[in-house]
């Protein structure tokens, strides 16, 4: 079942025995996937963990191995409040230890190669796993070359904060340390990117912080776009809450072409902006492994069958979450990744049983906080009709609402977060 050398077999068995998983995982080594099916999941985020769980729930006879390079998962959703200083990083942090209870074999390792012909993956620790079906959910990678001077090294001084963790804390430190009167600069990326309302949620919460602690400062958003998600709601709230935010769209010179981390400056075609607090959110593409495996098209993202999330490039590989091209309308969000994972899991289990592709139901929700007591949301439901994804309902929070309504949505945002995280990690 596994393409393991004897050395790795010994090593892995040790690990599995410790996790109490040894016996059912290796019935007889070398017996091909006869009867018992094996699914490998690459990436343990909003998409991957849910796919692993739902496959096991739907068919406990399937063996599932989840390969995740990090020991801990830091959630991006609700990390913007950490930057603004009203949330502890601890509540963003989750561990994989409960997944063994669901019969999921978790390996902390990085997948470096996928062989779609032999149907196997190999890892940085040079283990190799063969699969009957593979789920690829690596999230996003940054296009380090897209803005001149914005390299991975530069991001240690000018953080992106678009993968939560040390980068989030760095942004918080810079915000706390900046001088009253200096601008806080956010460089927003072109579509498509992870969490379309995210940069504007961040701008709002930074402005909330500045209003109290650095009232002479303002937020400047330099944008590669000329419109953004939930725009009327954000702009309305900025007025209502008295936030000092200047948004420079692309058609007014918002596109940043060059960054200099040594002099802490960013350049548009018209102007240079300097500050001790700069946040560049770079243009994005599907996670590195998706590129290495040739799962991407010329957009840099992975095309998939919209009904099953099976790659249209390689058979038996399913790409979910930020890395895939879901229909244009379904954004790259944690909620969407969760929804796509459940659809792919059902499709995989049905395929093993020789059943027809199940009819999917897709849902997305994104809450955004504009202050600790001010939340807004977008929600939508899609169905698969006449061979395409079709929107059935959806919309954003009302533009006019009472403070009590906004406060309720802020509380529901926390509740949403707890629900979706507990579904993943408990």
């Amino acid at each position: 079942m596994y393409n393991l050398t004897r050395r790795h077999f010994v090593k892995l068995t040790g690990g599995l025995a410790a996790a109490g998983l040894v016996s059912p995982m290796f019935p007889t080594l070398g017996r091909a996937s006869q009867g018992k099916k094996h699914v490998v999941v690459v990436g343990g985020g909003y998409g991957g963990v849910i796919a692993a769980k739902y496959i096991r729930m739907a068919d406990p006879s399937v063996t599932v191995t989840l390969i995740e390079k990090e020991k801990l998962y830091y959630s991006c959703p609700l990390s913007n409040p950490v930057i603004a200083g009203f949330r502890d990083m601890k509540v963003q942090r989750w561990g994989y230890e409960n997944l063994a209870k669901h019969g999921i074999n978790v390996q902390h390792d990085e997948v470096v190669e996928i062989d779609p012909v032999k149907r196997s993956v190999s890892t940085a620790k040079s283990a190799s796993f063969s699969y009957d079906k593979l789920v690829v959910a690596p999230g996003v990678d940054f296009k380090w070359d897209a803005i001149e001077g914005y390299t991975e090294k530069a991001s240690e001084k000018i953080p992106h904060g678009w993968k939560a963790g040390p980068q989030t804390l760095l942004l918080h430190e810079q915000l706390s340390a900046m001088k009253d009167g200096d601008p806080y600069i956010i460089v927003a990326p072109p579509m498509p990117f992870r969490c379309p309302p995210g940069p504007y949620e961040r701008a709002s919460l930074v402005a909330w912080y500045l209003k109290q602690h650095k009232p002479r400062s303002k937020v400047i958003i330099l944008d590669a776009k000329d419109k953004f998600a939930k725009q009327p709601l954000f702009v309305g709230a900025w007025k209502e809450l008295g936030y000092n935010i200047e948004w420079v769209p692309v058609n007014e010179g918002g596109k940043v072409t060059r960054v200099n981390a040594d002099s802490m400056s960013v350049h548009t075609e018209m102007q240079e902006y300097k500050s001790s607090a700069i946040n560049v959110i770079p243009p994005q593409k599907a996670g590195k492994i998706a590129h290495a495996a040739g799962l991407v098209d010329k957009t840099g993202w992975c095309p998939v069958n919209q009904k099953t999330f099976e790659s249209t490039v390689h058979k038996d590989i399913y790409v979910i979450g930020d890395a895939c091209i879901a229909t244009a309308e379904i954004p790259k969000s944690g909620f969407a990744a969760n929804s796509e994972a459940k659809i792919a899991a059902a499709a995989i289990v049905a395929a093993f049983k020789g059943e027809p592709e199940p009819d999917p139901s897709y849902v997305n929700t994104c809450y955004s906080l504009l202050s600790p007591d001010y939340g807004i949301s977008v929600a939508a439901v899609w169905a698969f009709k006449d061979n395409a994804v079709a929107k059935v309902s959806g919309g954003v929070s009302p533009e006019k609402a009472t403070p009590a309504f906004r406060k309720q949505e802020a509380s529901y945002a926390e509740s949403w977060y707890q629900s979706i995280m507990v579904e993943m990690f408990s």
Binding site: F405, Y412, S415
Partner: protein, 201 residues
């Protein structure tokens, strides 16, 4: 009590398709495919970890169907459920209601932020005041009959928000006898009642 059943009957007459208890012949997504999407907000298997989105697992079928249908038609004010519920047909709502009615009510651990906690003094005061409520919300809010939701152990913040809606929002559909009880009680008394029901196991 019968006053409540009337609300369900009115609904049943309005719903032509899928009104039968038996599994409706459904093409399209299975009940679990539809219902699994709710977990992202209501928690795994409809059991919410809090602090405010309600647990819906094990609620009565009639109640779930009534709520979803009212959200769908725009008859019940909400922050987000109106936008969600419009995504489903009557037949699908019926299947979803059955799905969650068949799951087990529970308390979900594992949250990284805890919900508001019950104040024992308020709960004690609320117990005495809840007598009229318990005519319908029997056994400390544990018993659920056809269209009465469980209140015992529901998230405190949710009960507070709902009670406030029922008391102050004229557009909120509710049994007449419940409204008249809400009208008689002060905001403080109702808050104490919320603590009482939330504290029941």
């Amino acid at each position: 009590m019968h006053d409540m059943k009337r609300r369900t009957l009115v609904l049943a007459a309005g719903v032509v398709v899928g009104g039968l208890w038996g599994a409706p012949a459904m093409a399209g997504p299975t009940p679990s495919m539809l219902s699994n999407t709710c977990a992202g907000c209501h928690g795994p298997q409809g059991v919410a970890p809090g602090p405010s989105i309600p647990t819906i697992a094990g609620m009565p079928y009639n109640f779930l169907k009534l709520m979803m249908t009212e959200y769908m038609k725009g008859d019940r004010p909400s922050t987000i459920m109106g936008r969600v519920a419009k995504g489903y047909s009557d037949v699908e709502i019926d299947a979803i209601a059955k799905h969650f009615a068949g799951l087990k009510w529970g308390v979900q651990g594992g949250a990284s932020v805890k919900g508001k906690s019950v104040d024992p003094a308020k709960a004690e005061k609320g117990k005495a005041l809840a007598k009229e409520c318990e005519k319908c919300h029997e056994e400390g809010g544990k018993k659920q009959d056809e269209d009465t939701p469980r209140l015992a152990g529901q998230w405190l913040e949710y009960l507070q928000v709902k009670i406030d809606d029922y008391k102050t929002n004229e557009k909120y559909p509710q049994p007449k006898k419940m409204k008249s009880q809400m009208d008689k009680l002060s905001v403080e008394d109702l808050d104490a009642i919320a603590h009482y029901f939330a504290g029941q196991k």
